[in-house]
């Protein structure tokens, strides 16, 4: 697969503070790539270096074959950008912003009215920016990021501060961007967002990339533990559970058993054991690790700090 962004050995400091260091990764054509980490980990700095808004102290960056620092205007013509916590003029109307943005690009912009309709903003086209809700503002920023039909779209903390419903709507929009064949580079500190949206993620902490892969592979690699919780009053159950291959621990409190082990086969093995021994259960559920657990494992603390 062709890579559209190459970042190699990037370092950026603000005075004494090292914001990012030795950051290297590639983003492939047509994927949603997520840079995930807690606030202050260096996500925005990394993204703004790639967009050409900041100059790294060291390292090389190439986007669509262009150097973001030397060819910033050429690059900005081909990318779409949504910045974290950005604002527009308080009393600019939605359609005025779209119209202004459409006039700024060299190549022909896509139809603004159609874009507003797709993003569900048609009935807000005459509203002032200051009177939009948080979700509507983000929808407008997505519209502005898409107006030049960009090849790569950058989204920085897109859903921060939104309610769950708006968040889901925005996720659908982002998936729609990928379906149009665009590459999406996003940052988030929400693990659920990364898991649901991203094809690949890079975990960043204290300005350094810890690991990069597909979310499910990261989970497999760093958190192979599986847990089954079930309830049964069968007296022979505990003994049988301990005999299951791959089981590391069986904890019993009252009639509730917590079975811990490793590997994808654990759940199958437990079900197999239940059916073979005709053990009657009144409750059964599995606990699978997710990116949140991966992050905890890799950094020793929760992402919410």
């Amino acid at each position: 697969m062709r890579s559209v962004i190459q970042v190699s050995g990037v370092r950026k400091t603000y005075g004494q503070t090292v914001a990012v260091d030795e950051v290297s990764f590639e983003v492939n054509d047509g994927e949603i790539f997520g840079l995930i980490g807690p606030n202050g980990a260096g996500k925005t700095t990394t993204m703004e270096c790639i967009e050409g808004l900041r100059t790294p102290d060291r390292g090389t960056i190439s986007v669509l074959g262009l150097d973001p620092f030397r060819h910033v205007y050429k690059l900005q013509d081909r990318i779409g950008v949504q910045l974290q916590q950005a604002q527009l003029q308080k009393r600019i109307k939605v359609w005025e912003a779209v119209d202004l943005w459409a006039s700024l690009y060299q190549k022909k912009a896509i139809d603004g009215e159609h874009l507003l309709e797709q993003l569900g903003l048609t009935d807000k086209r005459d509203a002032w920016f200051m009177n939009l809700s948080g979700g509507q503002k983000q929808q407008l920023f997505i519209a502005l990021a898409l107006i030049n039909d960009p090849e790569v779209v950058f989204l920085d903390e897109l859903t921060t501060g939104l309610d769950p419903q708006s968040r889901r709507a925005i996720w659908d929009l982002v998936r729609g961007i990928r379906e149009r064949g665009k590459t999406v580079f996003l940052t988030t500190h929400l693990m659920e967002e990364a898991e649901r949206l991203c094809d690949r993620v890079a975990i960043i902490e204290h300005g350094r990339i810890i690991d990069i892969d597909r979310p499910e592979r990261l989970v497999d690699r760093h958190c192979p533990e599986r847990t089954v919780v079930l309830t049964t009053d069968d007296p022979i159950a505990e003994e049988r559970f301990r005999a299951i291959p791959g089981v590391e621990a069986v904890i019993c409190t009252d009639l509730r058993f917590t079975i811990r082990g490793r590997g994808d086969d654990l759940v199958t093995e437990v079900i197999h054991c239940l059916s073979e021994n005709r053990i009657r259960v009144t409750d059964f559920r599995t606990i699978l690790p997710n990116l949140e657990d991966v992050f905890l494992k890799l950094t020793g603390h929760s992402i919410r700090g």
Binding site: E51, L53, Y73, Q76, D77, V81, L83, Q85, A86, Q87, L88, Q89, K90, R91, I92, E96, D99, L100, W101, S103, L104, Y105, Q106, W128
Partner: protein
């Protein structure tokens, strides 16, 4: 291209400004009203005018009012730039193919248009209620005021470059700009100022603006004021170069 988006951005900034509840009123109506009221009070009180008083009403007051228009435009620019910076609007605009200088030029154009519009309104109102300066060369005076405003705007940019937050923009701008009027030669001739103030007045662009505006209002030819225009241009170049060095976009 440098001009891409300039007119559209300028037009949007004008509309956005006029939508401000106090925007048009504060910047256009208040100076005009103040001018009329001041003219009435001073003009009414002085019976058979002494020479000095009459000269101040004839020349000083219109020039003072024009300067206040220019300074209020500059203060408004300083405030807007600081608010835009604090709100991330400047940064958002910069993450497009818009050139930074295009963004700032649009704001300068808006303020020059605002200044010209206020001046026009003042003259129209003045003709009706305050029969002074009817015979002044209005076109030349407008050009002189725009040159002065343009130069003072560059001081505004320098102030906007260094004020820490939007909250301080207006007061800091006012503290820097208004006292400049007192030594500008408008009330007391520059030559009769104490040596220190005289030296200060010599380096302040407002002094040259006042000299230019008074002269043009009195009907002087432009050729008599080339040094004033030159001084204002130098001030513009110096302040623009300095703010290009220290300007912060976020």
């Amino acid at each position: 291209m440098m001009l891409r988006g300039l007119w559209k951005l300028t037009w949007i900034e004008i509309k956005v400004f006029l939508r401000e509840p106090l925007g048009a009123f504060g910047s256009i109506v208040v100076p005009v009203l103040a001018f009329l009221v001041a003219g009435r009070i001073v003009g009414g009180r002085v019976g058979p005018p002494s020479l000095a008083a009459s000269s101040f009403i004839r020349v000083g007051l219109p020039v003072l009012a024009s300067l206040l228009i220019a300074i209020s435009a500059v203060l408004s620019l300083v405030t807007i730039i600081s608010i835009y910076r604090e709100g991330g609007i400047l940064k958002r605009l910069r993450a497009t193919p818009l050139r930074p200088q295009t963004i700032l030029t649009a704001h300068v154009i808006v303020k020059l248009i605002l200044t010209a519009a206020t001046l026009a309104l003042m003259v129209l109102a003045g003709k009706r209620y305050y029969p002074v300066g009817v015979h002044a060369p209005l076109f030349s005076f407008t050009i002189a005021l725009l040159i002065s405003t343009w130069s003072i705007l560059s001081i505004g940019f320098l102030i906007a470059s260094i004020v820490p937050t939007a909250r301080f923009a207006q007061p800091i701008g006012a503290i820097i700009l208004y006292p400049m009027i007192s030594v500008s030669g408008l009330f007391v001739p520059v030559e009769s100022l104490p040596p220190v103030l005289h030296a200060v007045a010599r380096v302040l662009p407002l002094t040259y603006a006042v000299h230019l505006l008074q002269g043009i209002w009195n009907g002087d030819a432009w050729s008599a004021h080339l040094s004033d225009v030159a001084a204002l241009t130098v001030a513009f170049v110096v302040c623009t170069a300095l703010s290009a060095k220290v300007f912060r976009w976020e």
